[in-house]
Symmetry: C2
Subunit: 164 residues, 2 copies
DNA sequence: TTAATAAAAGACAAAAATATCTTTTATTAT
DNA sequence: ATAATAAAAGATATTTTTGTCTTTTATTAA
């Protein structure tokens, strides 16, 4: 017994809107995780992948892959075994968020053309170039001036959320 | 006979960078196409999908789907048959590019949280909120103040490119 | 009124991004 | 040394985005 009446069944969607954010899901998870781990590091603690994933609301195994990549690139520190987990040392806490973004999403966002042309240039610009450059510069500024550890106190005080 | 020597074969890539631009490919093609058609409309001409795809360097059949969607939403005009093609009427030429973007990529880019949280809010912000808001506002401003027909003269004069 | 033209629609295919599951390796406390 | 723990790595699966091919519908010129 089916609850769908075939007489009134019809196709709803032929062309779905793309979901489209500034950053990939991978990058969003990476940034949230990084802020969460930084906060814990500030308190002198290491954190396990399970806790991170729970606290930032991301799929655990997928996040693990992302942090593995960051770990290979020495952007985050980790130790295996009991009492192990992820953490940031003092140097890493001072790294710009831009390092995380470019490790995960590449450099398109910092240098790419807004209309998707193969390269961006001043001398042979696309129509959007002048305005798009401002956007790109602001993103670059934001990511270069935000250090991984910048929000530790705000997070500890509950001023910010990573999970909603 | 193989040209790959198994003794020196190894896996190169375990975690590829995401390609990540501000807009989806779909949206990039849409914007380029729209500027190209607008320019032709300014000169009083309709354009066929084949010419558009060639001139903006996009896959023809894929672009056709995109323009079909814009056409269904009355953002672009079209007529079938001989001497048919795509064009913009005076009203459409004055529409903001934002209409194209939201038709194709949705509204995430205008309202979404930079860290991918389910919603953005002033009272319960993510760490990036204050800075990200500026980025989002600049994108919104750019897309609202750029009309579809804005670059017609610049394109005709060869000041801008849609194909490189 | 017919043939040619060009967009619209439908079905399908490939590639990339996202997500999960299993096995291995390193570390530490007992 | 051994068992327990937790990250790293490997393999695979799902979903979304991007891209193609075929058929249908509308328009127009002859
Ligand atoms: S050429 Fe397109 S943004 Fe610079
Ligand atoms: S809450 Fe994240 S951008 Fe506003």
């Amino acid at each position: 017994m089916s609850f769908i009446n075939p007489a009134i069944t019809f196709v709803l969607i032929t062309f779905t809107n793309n979901y489209m954010a500034i950053f990939s899901k991978t990058c969003e998870y990476a940034m949230r995780a990084v802020f969460y781990v930084a906060q814990k590091s500030h308190e002198g603690q290491k954190v396990g992948i399970k806790e991170i994933a729970e606290q930032i609301n991301s799929p655990e195994a997928f996040l693990a892959k992302i942090l593995q990549k960051l770990s290979r690139e020495r952007l985050i520190q980790s130790v295996k075994g009991p009492n192990g987990g992820f953490y940031f040392d003092a140097v890493s806490l001072n790294r710009p968020l831009a390092d995380i973004v470019s490790a995960v999403d590449g450099n398109e966002i910092f240098t790419g053309c807004g209309l998707g042309l193969t390269y961006c240039s001043e001398s042979n610009p696309c129509p959007l170039h002048d305005e798009f450059k401002k956007v790109r510069n602001q993103i670059t500024h934001m990511l270069n001036h935000t250090t991984i550890g910048k929000f530790n106190l705000g997070l500890i005080k509950g001023k910010f959320t990573l999970n909603k």
